[in-house]
Subunit: 251 residues, 2 copies
């Protein structure tokens, strides 16, 4: 049984706490939160602490806080020589204070508090400085997910950027589509099957193979019609730039 | 039983032919293709014609050709007073020659020849000039889909633009993510659960509620890091513009 302490109270910390509580091979021995009320609904009060210098003994300490707080939080830990990991896609492993054994435990997913996550399909990207620590972290990741990868810092940072494109920016495309529907009294629901199909397609085709639309087939009259149709200058600009990017296929 | 003639041999025509052949309430009496070999695998040769002036009698003629060919093809039809519809998201209903009764039968989906479509979930957007024709077209759409909408030309054109954002542009975001992975020897598969989750999320949250990421939380240090990390000038430009667009929430 792996003993784990989670440090943090944001989306990632809360989702991890929930999955650890549901996982037989993991014992969540303690949850640190600056503000314990924020996590009181997740675990009994006797396992919550707001004192960073009195953490319980564990096999793995998971720092799930904002990127710019990792260095400070890890430097406040009162012990040395233990395995301490962060959950960030973009922070370097070296952000963790070097008095402890360092690692990264990055779940590549988009977390919203209001939607519960199925962890078994979430890719976990692991990095450690020592081989022995990789085995420990791997055991933890394998207990909650089927998709575990060994990924170094540069690869992880590139994944983090790629994730912004495929997730944050795609979602913004949905938001623009929603706005256009609202402006013309059309239910956004009409577009949802198309969104699902577009995401499903790339399970069997590469995105380049799956590309369709006026930009791809260089249908200038439709492109002109769309640009005329769009009233919002920001939407016009985005339409023009992405159309050009698809056409140049310089992705 | 509705008698249908399909005119065209592209993606949409081929997908429609296949679903009509599988639908008991529809009789595909004829398929017109300039080049019959292109569709020889779909229906028996005796129901394929390459002569536009000798089409069989039917309740509905579906012109599924490129937008800029609709006017010409419809003007070549040798009959008058019959129900003739096109399948375009952006062409006006008036593109069809007015010697016949005009309509639109627009399936809002992304069609690739290599992936078979489940029509039952595809939204169909219908428009006709006469009320009696709407009933006929509705009967056809209801026989293959559960999502049928009455949509006028302006609404349809706005849906078509919105579809470019939510589908073509989202897919391009996937393509950029794929390219970044390739550049760093990371399997694109790692990103696929994230893509699925991002598309699934908006079934229960609005895109604005579902938005996450550095732009949304105004995490400037991560944004700067990402812009530094991206080498491709085109990717940098897209990243900057979409980040700004999310931050201004002026979607």
């Amino acid at each position: 049984m792996l003993k784990v302490v989670v440090i943090g109270s944001g989306n990632v910390a809360q989702q991890l706490v929930q999955v650890f509580e549901d996982t037989a091979q993991v014992e969540l021995v303690q949850l640190y939160a600056r503000n314990p009320e924020k996590v009181a609904h997740l675990v009994p009060a006797n396992r919550i602490t707001s004192s960073i210098i009195n953490l319980a003994e564990a096999d793995i300490y998971i720092i799930a806080v904002a990127d710019d707080a990792i260095a400070e939080v890890s430097s406040q830990l009162s012990f040395t020589g233990r395995l301490v990991v962060h959950t960030s896609g973009s922070a370097a492993i070296k952000q963790i204070d070097n008095r402890n054994r360092r690692g990264v435990f990055y779940p590549l997913q988009t977390f919203s508090k209001s939607k519960k996550i199925d962890f078994s399909t979430i890719p976990f990207c692991l990095e450690t400085e020592r081989e022995e620590d990789y085995a420990i972290l791997r055991q933890l990741a394998d207990s909650i997910s089927k998709n575990v990868y060994r990924i170094n810092t540069t690869q992880r940072q590139s994944l983090h950027v790629a994730a912004v494109f495929v997730s944050n920016f795609s979602n913004h495309m949905y938001a623009i589509g929603n706005k256009i529907c609202d402006e013309h009294n059309i239910p956004f629901d009409i577009l949802k099957p198309l969104i699902t199909e577009t995401a499903d397609k790339i399970k069997i085709l590469s995105p380049l193979q799956a590309q369709t639309g006026p930009a791809k087939r260089n249908d200038r009259s439709t492109i002109e019609k769309h640009l005329d149709f769009l009233e919002d200058e920001n939407h016009k600009k985005i339409y023009a730039i992405l159309t050009k990017s698809i056409q140049e296929a310089n992705v």
